[in-house]
Structures are given as C-alpha cells and as structure tokens.
Amino acid sequence: MQRRLTATILVCALAMCISAAVSEERIGRLKYGGGGDWYANPTSLPNLLRFAREHTNLRIPEQEETVKAGSRELHAFAYVHATGHGRIAFNAAERANLREYLLGGGFLHVDDNYGLDEYFREEVARLFPDKELIELPFSHPIYHCLFEFPNGLPKVHEHHGGPPHGYGIVHEGRVVLFYSFNTDLGNGWEDQEVHGNPEEIRQQALRMGTNLLVYALSR
C-alpha cells in the first residue's frame, strides 16, 4: 500500500514537472565561431530570467541553454542571446540556419560587449544581404512594450563615447535581430559585484532586457 502511494506521488510529481516544462519557452545563448568569447557575462542571463519572472508572467526557465548557430535545435528557442568581445563569424550552413530561424519567427539579441561591433556588422551583411541594420526610433514598441524607455536604450558602460544605439533587422514589420551597441546591457545584467554597476543602472538594464524577452514572445 505504502509502495503504491509512493509510486503515485512520484508519477504525479513527474507529471507536474513535465507539465511545467511543456509550457516553458526556451531561452538560448548562441555559441558562434570566429574566436569571440560567446560565453562572456555568465551571470547575466540567469539574472535577467529571474528578473523577468518576477516582473512578468512569462513562462521562462531559470537558466539559459547553449545553442549552436548551425544546430536545428536553434529553432526550438524563443529568444537567443549573443555577446562577446571579439570576432564573431558564421559559416554558410550556420548562416542559412540562423537566417531560416530568424525569418521563420525567431529572435536574436546581439549585445556588443566591446570589440564585437566591427565583426558583427560584417556578419550581418552576409546574413541579410537584402536587409539593412537600421537604428530603431525611440518610439519603437521594443522600448515601450513593458517598461518605458522614452530615450531608447539605457546607458550601462561607456565604450565608444556618445549615447547607446539600438539597431534592428526588420522582417515583415517585426524586429528579428536586435543589436545593442555602446551600452553593454549584458554587463548590466551581471551580478552587482562583477562590474560594480550602480543598482539603478542594473535595474534599467534588466528592464530593457525584459522588454526584449516580452517583445520576442509577443511579436
């Protein structure tokens, strides 16, 4: 009798875990080639996911998963994040897969962690030769879909001087690739002791990151 009860409880618990997992969206960190540190800012995404769970009703996991640009598994992810300080490069197969993913409904956020910009712009030109990486106006929904950013991206770190910029590749009215430049959102998402950012700056960065998640899952 006790054995049967234990088994029943285990089955129910398993079913509940599976049920929760079924409805969760998958969040990925893009593993790319070219030598750049794709693994930078390790605490950033877990912090962002925790913040988003606390402030929205998104069904998202506590940890991101790593996904390769050329993997078919990429198509299972609702939001993919890429960051780094150096070179980023895709081969033809990866490019095709990434392009199919993005045009088919996926979302890629690339965050320049300093030193990524030059390589990324070259790669985007290869990825979308028919599209232009445009700076999004401050009125764009990505700045207003949950938290209000009337002046666009918040400034986290000073890289190149001047204000931060938010660029996008737009397909059928939807931003499929968002590029945050000259701010370093990922650093803002990291644990406070990593970069010593003021809490207000961190909060702004986390809010903007949450906007990106909400946008990716609603547009």
């Binding site: 049920s19 409805s23 402030h55 009703n57 998104l58 078919r72 993913y101 409904g105 207003h144 879909c145």
Partner: protein, 720 residues
C-alpha cells in the same frame, strides 16, 4: 287549527285508570264534610285530566302565510379595465361603486336580499362591495358568472345584476359568452359602465427593422403608430440608437394605424437597440405602450476580432502575426503581461489597458480566449460572452495551462457555450501529440481543401489540455494520439444558439511553423489550419440556413406571439419538409412548440400566448430526417399587458348577455329603472305552525299547581 294526532286507545286506558283512582279517592274521603269531599274530588279529577293530557301530548297545526324579499346576486367587475385609473382620476369601478354604495342601485338593492361578488377572471364572494378592491387581470364574464350561477345554495337567485364595462378579455365573441349563461335559467341584468368611445391612447403596435446591417449602411426603420381617441393630434416621434437620438418625425395621427418610416445609418458595430418613442399625451390612459424597440446587429464594415491572450508566448506571437496579415479583418488584442490582470493593447502601439476596454463582445465577429483564466476576465465579460455567442457571435478557446477546466472555466457561464465538457480537475496531458484531420465537418473539409495532406506527419506537439468530453452536438475536426490514447479531441467545433464555438486543446502548434523538425509541409499545414479556423470563426452570419424572425422584440403579456422560421439551403433556396421546433425559455420555464408549414415555401410559423413579463429566449431548430439543418435564436421581452387599460367599454357584450338570459341592459345613468325591471315582489311562503300545549312550561306549572293544592288541602283536612 286541527288536532292532527289521535291516541284513542291510550286515552281510554288513561280514563279507566283515572276513574278507578277517583272512585278510591271518593271512598277514602267519607269522613269529611261533603263540601270538602267534593272539592278534593274535583281537584283530583282536574289533576288526572292534565296528566292524561300530558301523556297523550296532542299536536295542533295552524297554517300561516309568510313573505320575504327576493335573493339577487350582484356581480361587480374588478378587472383592470374597470379599476385602473385613467388620467382624470375616476375609474369605471369608482363610478360603479358610488352607484352600488349610495346611488340608485343602492336604493333598488335595498328591496332585495343581496349576495355580492367581485369578478374578473373568476368570482369571489364578498360581504360588501369594497370601495378599493384589489384589481384582477382581465375579465372573463362567462367563467365568472358561471361560477356564481352554478354554485349550490339553499335558495336560487331570482336575478343576477352585473355591473361591468363589458370589456371581456377572454376574446370570445359576445354571442358565445351570452349563450353559455342562458343554461342557468337566471336572468342577468347588466348595468353598463364606461364609454364605448376609444380610450385616448398613443401606441406603437409594430416596429420593423432589418436584423443585420453593415456599419455605415443606410436602412429603413418602419413603425406603426396608433393614436386612438386622439385622431386630430400630431404625434412627435423620436428614434434613439441606445441612448443617442438619431431621428425625429411629426405624424398626423388620423383614424387608423399609420406607418412612420425612418431612414437611418447603421452606427457602432454590435447589437444596437433602436427605440421609437412618442411622448405621453396629457389625456392618454397609459404611456407604457408609447415606445417600442427592436434589436439590430450591426456588422463591422470590416470584420473585427478580439483576441484575449493570457501571457506572451510563441503560440500567441505566431497567431498574432497571422491575424494581422488577414485582409479585411481588424484584430484587437488584449495581452496580459503580468499576473493577475495587467493587460496591454498589443495590436498597435502597446499600452496598458483595462479588460473592460475590450468593450461589448457584440462589436466583434469573433472572440478568442487564449490561455486566460476565467476570473481574469471578470464576471461581466464572461457572462456577456455566453449571450454573445447565443445571439450569433463566435467564440474560440485555445489551449494552455490557463484554459478550459484548469483555467476555472468549468463553472463559468461560458462553459455552456463551448463545444467541450470541462471539470475543475482537468489538467494537462504531458505526452507527444500527433494529430489527424477527421472525415466529416465544415472545418475538416476546409482543411482538406487547403491541399495539405499527411497531418499525422507534422512535428509532434508537446502535450495538450485534458477535457472531460465533447459536447453532445459538437464535432471533432482534428483528433490526436498521445500517451497510448487515440481519438483525443484536439480541435472541436460546435454551435451555441445562433453562434459558433471552437476549442483547440493544444498550445504549441507553432512547432509546425518553427521547430527543429519543421519544414515547408508543416509550415503550410500551420498556415492552412489557422487560416481555416479563423475563417470559420469570422464567417458572416448570413451563411446561416435557419433564420428566426419575430418581427419585434417587445410583446405584451397575454398577447399572441408569432414567429416565422425561414429554412434555406446554401444556395438560399427554401427547404420544404423540415421539422422545425421552437424552444421558448422564459420566466415560466421551458417549452417546445412545433412550427407549422406556411403557404410560403421554406417558411414555418408558430404562434403562442406570451406568458409572464420577463426576458424570453427563443431558439428555432430545424431538422430534415436525421440531418441537422441548423438553429437560430432571438431574445424578446414580455412586458405587462396594457390592453386592459386601453379597452373601451363593450355594451354589446352586456346587451347580448341580457338578451340571451332574459334580463335587461341599462347604462349606469339609467340604473334607477332597474327597479321596474327586476322581479322584486316579495316571495310568499305557506308555513304551518305546530303547537303542542302539553310540552309548554305553563302547562307544567299548571300541573304542579293543581298537585300542590291537592296535597295542601289533604294535609289541612287530615285526609290520608
């Protein structure tokens, strides 16, 4: 006087015994003087004589003639046409009461024994006619007079006096009412109250409008206006759409019902109530019938759809893109971004919104509830949704942890509308789901026509909502196999009233669009599935094959309601030989009425009497053999009858009753003449008075006195 009883043998025996006793007495008194002896003998003789008289107890009958006033039954009509006050404050009943209480009728009735009754649709015996009775409903003269005349009583009335306006509400011809009363053999004398002239009253007996018009379309609203008793007046009519006045018109009343036409422009989409109103006239008896309204469904020029989504997720994002791509469809989206109810408008520039900003569901051709709990919508919207579908809207519920039973929908008003059965214990089935399109049904046909084949080869879905079952009249359009179970309902279509309902028990069809195994085939399948499903939901109502027409949406209690049901096929050709049933659900419960064929092809009619005031929902269902041809529904309002208030006096009814029963008719002003007409002669009765002197107290005292004297003298004269 005569002695009617004789007891001769007993008398002889008593006389013999008395004689013997007297002889003994004579012998025992020899010792006293002769005078005393004779006196005692006389006393004793007298005593015996009275005792013998008492024993014999003879009866003496004395005939006598008695007179008493005749019995007359007086029935006073207390139906609403008699008791309700007209504007001048003097009701017909008040006039009648004054005559009965202290006027001419009181004088006449003073010469009779009166039994009083109050009558409306029955008779009630009262000691006195009250000055302010509780008003009845309508008058049923045949029924109420029959109750009086047939009731058993020791003495039959010589006549019945009926005080009424003759406004018989039973709708029977006067002759039939009168003939039925003749059989009781009691003459009915009718005193007429009230004028047969039309009661001043403005009414709008008819209002016709197209049932469905398109936003911005011109359409005609036709009202019938009757101004009885106010023929020379000008009636100022106004039309309102909801609360907003949209047209006015002056109409010369005339002697008959007159039509008034209004050219209107269809306003805001949704169900709009158009009301035609005539202001109350100072002399009219009631203003309750001065307005009439009709409900018109205004279709958006461009179809509108409302999507309420419980959380940002990929299933929503993909569906949103498809909806916004559909031409001629305006999609309004309320997306909840934080629990419990932080909604945002998401169809244009995102902004926070209240759920109430969704507005009246009637504004939309379809409403989609996607992964949202019942309580997040609030009771108002949830309960309106059920009515919205019943009236012809379309509702879909898409899968997710917050949908169906798991979202608390099992006990909500929406549960009756959806094509599935739910329970609070329903959860999620966490197994890979393969789907297959079923054979029969409108939606499966559309999916097959899309050219997509091999649905079972689509990328597997990861779980689905459990449901308790499929509603009895629903169809499973797509079924699934998961966890060793087959034929699991995945897409279910149904009808609720005149509306359409759709249930989708999965929440990750996006995997057909974008997932590791997704390909061109699965993307085409996703596109075909949602295009067909949304297309089915927003299909215009004009495709219906059963159309219920009731003409107007307000009817008077007690009046006849007429409904026509048009049954047509897809080519708009009438269908003959259908079985059409009308289900009427109102304050008195539910009843079913079979509609009859009419001379017009494809039109079936049903008539019934409107019951208690309140809202009544009508559903027409048509079948041919085992084929369900569809159903349509309308809601009408039953209002208090004002017929009795506006009913002129009908002296012809009273005349017919009087004539048929051998009585007479008199207007109230001539009620004094009733004295000459009523058979008021006193009734004479021969009565016999029976006397028995031996049983009287005086006789008893006489016996005691004689016996006492006898005893006293014997003591005094010392006789033993």
């Amino acid at each position: 006087m005569s002695v009617v009883e004789s007891h001769l043998p007993l008398a002889v025996a008593a006389a013999v015994i008395a004689g013997a006793a007297l002889y003994l007495c004579w012998l025992r008194t020899r010792a006293i003087p002769m005078v005393r002896r004779l006196a005692l003998l006389a006393l004793r003789t007298l005593l015996f004589a009275t005792i013998i008289f008492a024993i014999l107890n003879p009866r003496f009958d004395r005939p006598r003639e008695l007179q008493e006033p005749p019995l007359v039954a007086v029935a006073v009509d207390v139906s609403r046409s008699m008791t309700d006050l007209p504007p001048d404050g003097e009701s017909r009943y008040s006039t009648a009461f004054a005559a009965v209480d202290s006027g001419d009728l009181a004088t006449v009735m003073g010469e009779a024994r009166v039994e009083s009754y109050l009558i409306s649709d029955g008779a009630e015996s009262v000691d006195d006619v009250p000055p302010e009775p509780e008003g009845g409903s309508h008058a049923d003269l045949r029924r109420s007079l029959s109750e009086i005349l047939r009731r058993p009583c020791p003495q039959e009335p010589v006549a019945c006096v009926l005080i009424s306006d003759g406004a018989d509400g039973s709708h029977r011809p006067p002759a039939r009412v009168a003939q039925a009363l003749r059989g009781y053999g009691v003459p009915v004398y009718c005193i007429g109250v009230g004028s047969p002239e039309p009661v001043p009253d403005i009414s709008i007996p008819g209002l016709v409008a197209p049932r469905t018009v398109t936003e911005g379309e011109q359409f005609e609203l036709r009202a019938l206006v009757d101004a009885a008793g106010l023929e020379d007046e000008v009636v100022e009519l106004s039309v309102t759409e909801g609360e907003r006045q949209v047209a006015t018109r002056r109409l010369e009343a005339g002697h008959r019902e007159r039509p008034a036409r209004f050219q209107l422009t269809a306003g805001t989409p949704g169900y709009q109530r158009y009301t035609v109103t005539a202001p109350p006239h100072q002399s009219e008896v009631t203003a309750a019938n001065n307005r009439r309204s009709v409900l018109v469904r205004i279709e958006p020029a461009e179809a509108r759809l409302l999507l309420i989504e419980g959380r940002p997720r990929r299933e929503y994002a993909f569906l949103r893109r498809l909806l916004l791509r559909i031409e001629d469809l305006e999609t309004k989206i309320l997306l909840r971004k934080a629990d419990p109810a932080e909604f945002w408008f998401d169809h244009e520039a995102p902004r926070r919104a209240d759920i109430d900003e969704a507005g009246d569901p009637g504004r939309y051709r379809a409403v989609i509830l996607s992964n949202i709990e019942a309580e997040a919508l609030g009771g108002g919207l949830a309960s309106r949704l059920s009515d919205y579908v019943f009236e012809g809207g379309a509702l879909a519920m898409l899968g997710g942890p917050s949908s169906f039973g798991g979202g608390g929908w099992a006990d909500s008003p929406v549960a009756t509308a959806l094509p599935v059965r739910m329970s609070a214990a329903d959860g999620l089935l966490a197994d890979a789901v393969a789907v297959q399109v079923t054979e029969a049904g409108e939606l499966p046909t559309a999916l097959r026509d899309s050219g997509v084949q091999a649905w079972h080869r689509l990328p597997l879905l990861e779980g689905m909502n459990r449901i308790a079952g499929v509603a009895s009249d629903a169809q499973v359009a797509v079924k699934g196999t998961a966890g060793g179970q087959s034929d699991l309902p995945v897409v279910i279509t149904g009808r609720h009233g005149a509306g359409r309902t759709l249930a989708v028990t999965v929440d990750d069809t996006w995997r057909w669009r974008q997932s590791p195994p997704a390909d061109e085939h699965s993307r085409a399948a996703w596109e075909a599935f949602w295009t067909a499903a949304v297309g089915w939901l927003i299909a215009p109502r004009e495709e219906r094959e059963v159309i219920l027409e009731v003409g107007r949406d307000t009817w008077e209690s007690g009046g006849a309601v007429r409904a026509d049901v048009h049954v047509i096929d897809e080519e708009m050709e009438p269908i003959e030989g259908a079985n059409v049933t009308l289900t009427v659900v109102g304050p008195e419960g539910e009843r079913e009425i079979e509609a009859d064929r009419t001379p017009d092809a494809g039109i079936y009619g049903a008539t019934w009497r409107a019951g208690e005031p309140g809202t009544v929902r009508l559903t027409a269902s048509a079948r041919r053999g085992s084929e369900d041809l569809g159903q349509d529904t309308r809601t009408i309002e039953i209002i208090e009858s004002v017929e009795e208030l506006t009913r002129p006096a009908q002296p012809e009814v009273l005349r017919a009753i009087a004539e048929e029963t051998g009585g007479a008719y008199l207007p109230l002003e001539r009620a004094a003449e009733l004295r000459e007409l009523l058979p008021l002669e006193p009734e004479r009765h021969e009565r016999t008075i029976v006397l028995r002197p031996a049983r009287t107290t005086g006789f008893f005292l006489l016996v005691v006195l004689i016996a006492g004297a006898d005893w006293l003298l014997r003591r005094r004269w010392s006789v033993g």
